[in-house]
């Protein structure tokens, strides 16, 4: 093995270098010039995102513990884009609220460490690497959730996250050890050849699934979601709902479709039931939410339920539609969180009632929010429609018409609460509406990227075709 094979880990190495570079910068930059750290971090991560798209080799490392292919690379790039947007949207928040507490650099370092964990989790070739990645991706986020040290609710959210995450990963680890006990291997390739459907493997699988279900916030592992989102800083709530969820969805799908394929008869039924209850619980609880963060929390639970419709197929169409949906979901949800962030930063208001009459004072923000909500609701011509339609097509291709029917019932329910926000912004007139304000350049850029993404990704079909081709080559 020569050093050039380490280039397979290009994403990981560059991100690690950036993290260390920021540490050096933290030490060497004077306290009164700390805001240059924000610019530096965003700039470096922007470069990293672009480099991530460049051509690279694919293959295995460390005897199969780490492996990468084109689909995995693409998905890492999707996560990168999400984090980049998130950095742009939270840049102002860090400059205004965090820097003077001398904790700016740590924010980026923790965030990047967590992302690094996700890279390893996605690229894992065995359960050990997978578990390391899972832990590395979760622990820093708990620290980040408690980052608003001036607010008690933020610390509470950090504690809630770390406790439930620890429990979940413990359960997951127990499941993995049972799988190891029955198959005698932790390598994915070997397990997929040995594994058979018996009671012990099913128990192991269910426990393992519960751990990942926690990260995706599937019902009934969703109880932490709303509380943590409400307390955590908005950018961290966005991170949990988009990046963390996206990565977990991806790895769960890969494992189900390859390693655990022999258990398909089992997990099909599990996913069928969980998809239904996740959609219904997420949507019904979202109906009455007033706080925008809790609102988006339940909406993101419901969206996870829709994602399961693509996952139930167990075939190439499922991979393509799920990856495509996650890509769209990154843009749509980040647009929604971005607007909430912009308003919260300026005014400190986070309730739906405060949004009344917003269109007449801040038309651009309202339009971005409307695009985001329409995309989440799945209304053409914005991207969310295409994502949902294809997910439903994937489920219908396997003959799950009843499931699709229940899903479209849920789409209609979700439309109601998404329209509630549109109603507040556009329909209501309000003397005390949030006055006009100008966001700074980073926030504007962050929102602009999401808005363009929402408008373009759906209509521009070559993007889906590309993902479709990747997913084909993935299963071969």
């Amino acid at each position: 093995m020569d050093f050039s094979s380490f280039l397979l880990m290009r994403h990981e190495i560059i991100l690690l270098a950036i993290t260390l570079l920021l540490l050096v910068a933290e030490v060497s930059i004077a306290n009164n010039k700390k805001n240059s750290i924000v610019h530096l971090a965003i700039f470096l991560f922007g470069i990293h995102t672009i480099v991530g798209f460049l051509k690279m080799d694919y293959g295995d490392l460390f005897g199969g513990m780490f492996h990468t292919n084109e689909l995995i690379k693409f998905f890492k790039s999707v996560l990168n884009i999400g984090v980049l947007i998130l950095l742009l949207q939270s840049g102002d928040w860090i400059e205004e609220k965090i820097l003077h507490q001398q904790r700016g650099t740590e924010f980026f370092m923790l965030l990047f460490s967590s992302l690094l964990g996700m890279y390893f989790m996605i690229s894992a070739g065995d359960f050990l690497m997978f578990y390391l990645g899972l832990e590395l991706s979760t622990l820093p986020v708990a620290a980040l959730a408690a980052y608003d040290i001036t607010k008690r609710i933020s610390s509470e959210s950090g504690i809630k996250l770390i406790l439930s995450a620890a429990l979940a990963s413990g359960v997951s680890l127990f499941g993995i050890s049972i799988l190891y006990a029955t198959t005698g291997s932790i390598y994915f390739i070997e397990i997929s050849e040995i594994i058979t459907s018996n009671n012990l493997t099913i128990l192991g699988f269910v426990l393992f699934f519960a751990g990942l279900g926690f990260k995706i916030s599937l019902v009934p592992f969703h109880f932490w979601t709303a509380d943590v989102y409400e307390g955590a800083p908005i950018s961290i709530a966005a991170y949990l709902s988009v990046i963390s969820k996206g990565a977990a969805v991806f790895i769960l799908m890969i494992l189900l479709f390859t390693v655990l394929k022999p258990l398909m008869a089992i997990w099909e039924n599990i996913i069928y039931v969980i998809a239904i209850i996740t959609m219904f619980i997420g949507n019904l609880f979202a109906l009455r939410q007033q706080n925008m963060k809790r609102f988006l929390a339940f909406s993101s639970i419901a969206q996870a339920g829709f994602i399961l419709l693509g996952m139930i197929t167990g075939n190439q169409l499922g991979i393509a539609t799920v990856v495509y949906f996650v890509l769209i979901y990154v843009f749509s949800n980040l647009a929604a969180f971005g607007v909430v962030q912009a308003i919260s930063l300026q005014t400190g208001k986070e309730n739906m009632k405060d949004y009344e009459g917003l269109y007449r004072t801040n038309p651009n923000l309202s339009l971005v929010m409307m695009l985001a909500l329409f995309s989440l609701a799945g209304i053409p011509p914005v991207a969310g429609f295409f994502g949902k339609f294809f997910l439903f097509t994937a489920a219908a291709s396997k003959g799950y018409y009843l499931l699709v029917f229940l899903a479209v019932v849920n789409v209609t329910i979700s439309l109601y609460y998404y329209l509630l926000v549109v109603r507040a912004m556009f329909l209501r007139k309000n003397e005390n509406a949030i006055p006009y304000f100008k966001s700074k350049i980073y926030m504007k850029l962050g929102l602009l990227i999401t808005a363009v993404g929402i408008l373009v990704i759906g209509l521009y079909s070559p993007l889906y075709n590309y993902i479709h081709e990747l997913s084909k080559s993935f299963l071969n």
């Binding site: 393509a320 329409f374 209304i379 053409p380 011509p381 429609f385 339609f389 294809f390 439903f392 097509t393 219908a396 291709s397 003959g399 018409y401 699709v404 029917f405 479209v408 019932v409 789409v411 209609t412 439309l415 109601y416 329209l419 549109v422 109603r423 556009f426 329909l427 079909s461 889906y464 075709n465 479709h468």
Partner: protein
Amino acid sequence: MDILSLFIIVPIITILVLVFTKNLKQARVVSMVGSSVQLLMAINLVFAYFKERAVNSSIMVFTKDIVWFEPFNIHYTIGVDGVSVALLLLTAIVVLAGVFISWKMCDLPKEFFISLIVLSIGVYGFFISLDLFTMFVFFEIAVIPMYLLIGIWGSGPKEYSAMKLTLMLMGASAILLVGILGIYFNSDADGGALTFNILEIAQVNIPIESQKLFFPLTFIGFAVIGALFPFHTWSPDGHASAPTAVSMLHAGVLMKLGGYGVFRVAMYLLPLGAIDWSWVFIILSVIGVVYGAFSAIKQTDLKYINAYSSVSHLGLVLFALLMLNKTAWNGAILQSLSHGFMTALFFALIGMIYGRTHTRDIGKLGGLLKVIPFISVIYVIAGLASLGLPGFSGFVAEMNIFVGAFQEDNMFMRVATILSVSVIVITAVYILRVVGIMLMGPIKKEAYLKLEKVTWYERFGILLLLIPIVGIGVAPLWLSDMILESLDPFIKGLL
């Protein structure tokens, strides 16, 4: 650029220009120019269609096909036959009339016209699509602007009505989605590739079990927007709360999407399902026809009267389609057109009356014929057209429907037909009642003596709608021939 895609591109350009307008004056001029161009294109299309039809005998003409999502075999496929040409013309006329009627839209004018034109894009796109996916996309694009249009610019309980309308229509389209997916995954029944193309699917023999399963989903999905009983409840509330131009566009054009979709998708692609299920929906549509008419009698709000009358008239469209014969279908399409013009005209007039008297309660109005004669006379004419007086479009349409319906000679069909025919009498009751109370009689309020005269733009909007009503009534054959020859391929599977 081909002649049909322009119907989508011109409104998009109009919207892009509208974004840069600064005030009401600019916005309305831009919208008027854009919609006028659309109307000229639609008229041009009619002539082009006749010319093309003489040399081209395929089911659809001016077809164009662009691959969109290759893995799913989704195409942007467009094309028209006589039915869609007629409906495109209807849309262009009603949109332009709607722009004229909204000449004085003060609150957020730019946004109003943009939403209106987005809605029209959805309608145009729906009528030219030959691909189920594209059609579905346009269907939803047509529905969603209604929420903003009613919610922002409406009156009365507008938030409630807007939400009810949007949820019911989007719920219906969600059911439709399942139906469309069902059709899609059965389109390889004869061993071909999966496809969304309507003309290709029509050649496939979809298994009868699937047809029976997916026909009701597809039918209900479309028929909700065509106000099928008992899913019509969004329509009276929605129309009553909507601003004038939106009521016109919605009752005049958007509700036609239902009948058109049933005819073009549900019945054409799932004929065996249609034959199997028709009795259920005949019962529902007859209830809708009679119930709508009776409800209209009891209403006192002008817009509610008209909305229930729409439920009744569009019930006839569905009823005629379910008769599954050519004469009735011809009547159904003619009724769609006739009702489109007529009801748009009604809503325009109601908007004008309301704008002047500030009430829509017929009990408070009286003697309007003496003070605003132009509007009142047109109201009488529209009323007469609505109750099916010979010489107007309504007569031609209803004549065809009932003649067609009476061709079915079993007891069930006969009873259904007789019940539906009775609606002609009930319609006369509610139309004449309004005319009697509101237009005749003494002037009930001092203030009514000084009502504003009709303005040039209102006159223009009215004439745009009146000409086709009289035109179809006096010379129906050119239109009815154009429709009839297009029906053949669609009825074949049902015989």
